[in-house]
């Protein structure tokens, strides 16, 4: 059962504690910007040449957004679970009306807002640096919000499995980096062997990439990808909330 006042209190506190950590704020926004600057502006693309980074710049927009939509929730939620567990906060919270689902939802809300800002900055830098203007749309907002929700659920699972914050970061990287490269983000599927395609299809990031690409290219028919992403988000959120520990 969702307990709204407790959820709001948790979300407000999570937001406060994040924005007061200057290094966390800086690196949350600088990391994706570096990627955009490197691959969007410094690396010269040559559309049609057939190699890496030879697609039109707009092709890579899902990849740039995936950096923040995937990495930020995975590492932040995973590390937050470890911090809460080490400080016995879950133990105390278990005697309050805040359920484990409330806790995860509260931190998911914070991540949606945070990643929303980061995505806006990424798109702004992309526009300034490459001239590619991606107009905000309902579809884009929905994909970002649902994508963040899914990776918050996965982050909670990682937080349960890993025993330290270092472990969470390592696990997040192990999970995210292959997806960032292969889930129809930076490497077009035609460059991968045919036998690998089924793996691409089952990557949780793939519906995000396909849907966002359709949205930014102005196409229709992204509803199916959004629905699939939403189902995955719900499944991982439920599993993640269930796995949140009560005690160390």
């Amino acid at each position: 059962m969702i307990h709204h006042p407790a959820l709001i209190a948790e979300a407000r506190t999570a937001w406060r504690t994040f924005v007061r950590r200057r290094t966390a704020v800086v690196f949350t926004f600088v990391f994706p910007l570096l990627l955009v600057v490197i691959f969007g502006a410094l690396v010269t693309t040559d559309p049609g040449d057939g190699g890496l980074f030879t697609e039109p710049t707009v092709y890579y927009v899902p990849g740039y957004l995936a950096v923040v939509v995937m990495f930020t929730p995975l590492s932040r939620i995973g590390a937050e679970v470890i911090r809460h567990r080490d400080a016995n906060r879950f133990e105390q919270l278990s005697t309050t009306p805040l359920s484990r689902a409330d806790w995860l939802l509260a931190h998911t809300l914070v991540n949606i807002v945070l990643v929303g800002f980061a995505c806006a900055i990424v798109l702004g830098v992309l526009w300034v640096g490459t001239g590619v203007a991606v107009r905000p749309s309902l579809g884009l907002v929905l994909f970002i919000a649902v994508g963040v929700t899914m990776f918050c659920g996965i982050g909670a699972c990682l937080g349960r499995v890993a025993s330290t914050q270092d472990g969470v970061i390592a696990a997040a990287n192990t999970l995210a980096i292959p997806m960032l490269l292969l889930a129809e983000t930076f490497v077009p599927p035609r460059m991968l062997p045919a036998w690998f395609q089924p793996f691409v299809d089952v990557m949780p990031l793939t519906p995000f990439s396909r849907g966002v690409r359709t949205v930014v290219e102005g196409g229709a028919g992204w509803g199916a990808d959004l629905l699939l992403l939403a189902v995955l988000a719900l499944v991982f959120l439920v599993i993640g909330a269930h796995l949140l520990p009560r005690v160390d």
Partner: protein, 297 residues
């Protein structure tokens, strides 16, 4: 009157380790009960079971007549062992956070005043002293005005003045009708604070009673400690006519009645023994602890 906590034949294991073995304990409403025992005795496990954080493998626990997890969440205020709250929040924001979490009616100012933190309410938690931090943590456990307050080592790291303040607060809460369970390694604290003390050792409840009753039963007799200027000669020790043990130049005389103290001093004076210090020591809860749990692991 319905007990605040009723624990019946509770056992719990972690892997191959027996954390609790057939523990039964009743905590009457409106009392302070101190849980003492060596590290690994099962105190924290019992606290967690009492609060519904974990379920016992066998046995039953009720808090105010209900299973802990069926209680209104605001009924219990828990301060876990080695707890630290979210950082980058001021003392006031922290108490406000826990107040908002529980939807409590108790004001933030009231809680800050109760734990003596009004003057430092605008400083970030991590910039407070260890004692101030711990007092805020206690505040986080009572902000929801719970009927049962469970504090796992609440005074660890607090200076004597701060500890006294926490004791006064807990006694005030008890006088207001709250039930309080406190774990501690400080026997003086347990004796000063508790209406009853429960001693756990090796996962079993070894004794439970009023501190004075436990001391009467298990504390042994009073002792006299003598620190002579020179080691006592064997014939002087014989003349004392009581059990004497020595350690690092200090002699401990056991089994004396108060009126025999004059005889001891007289014997030493007759033998020409000068001494730096002579002290009379009544048995304490620490003696009970060593007697009943001293060798347990």
């Amino acid at each position: 009157m319905e007990p605040a906590v009723a624990i019946e034949d509770v056992s719990h294991r972690y892997g191959d380790v027996d954390a609790l073995r057939s523990v039964s304990l009743t905590v009457p409403a409106g009392e302070i009960v101190g849980l003492i025992g060596p590290n690994g005795a099962g105190k924290t496990t019992l606290v967690r079971i009492m609060c519904g954080v974990i379920k016992p493998m066998t046995g039953a626990v009720t808090v105010f007549g209900h299973e802990p997890r069926d209680l209104d969440p605001g009924a219990i205020g828990l301060l876990p062992q080695a707890f630290s709250p979210p950082g980058r929040l001021t003392g006031r924001e922290l108490i406000q956070y826990y107040r908002d979490l529980s939807g409590a009616s108790r004001s933030v100012d009231d809680v800050l005043a109760a734990v003596g933190m009004t003057a430092a309410d605008d400083r970030w938690y991590e910039r407070l002293s260890g004692g101030q931090q711990r007092r805020l943590c206690v505040g986080s456990a009572i902000v929801n005005d719970p009927k049962l307050v469970v504090l796992d080592e609440p005074t660890t790291g607090i200076d004597p003045a701060g500890r006294q303040r926490i004791w006064s607060l807990l006694k005030q809460l008890r006088d207001d009708g709250h039930t309080i369970v406190v774990t501690t390694h400080d026997m003086a604290e347990a004796a000063a604070l508790s209406d009853r003390v429960a001693l756990l050792a090796g996962g079993a409840l070894v004794a439970v009673d009023h501190p004075d009753a436990l001391i009467d039963r298990h504390g042994g007799t009073a002792r006299v400690r003598i620190e002579p200027a020179e080691p006592l000669a064997p014939e002087v020790i014989d003349d004392l006519a009581v059990d004497v043990s020595s350690h690092n130049g200090t002699y401990e005389l056991v089994g004396l009645e108060p009126y025999q103290l004059a005889d001891v001093i007289g014997t030493l004076a007759t033998a020409g023994v000068s001494f730096r210090r002579i002290t009379w020591q009544e048995p304490t809860l620490e003696d009970v602890y060593h007697e009943l749990a001293g060798n347990s692991k």
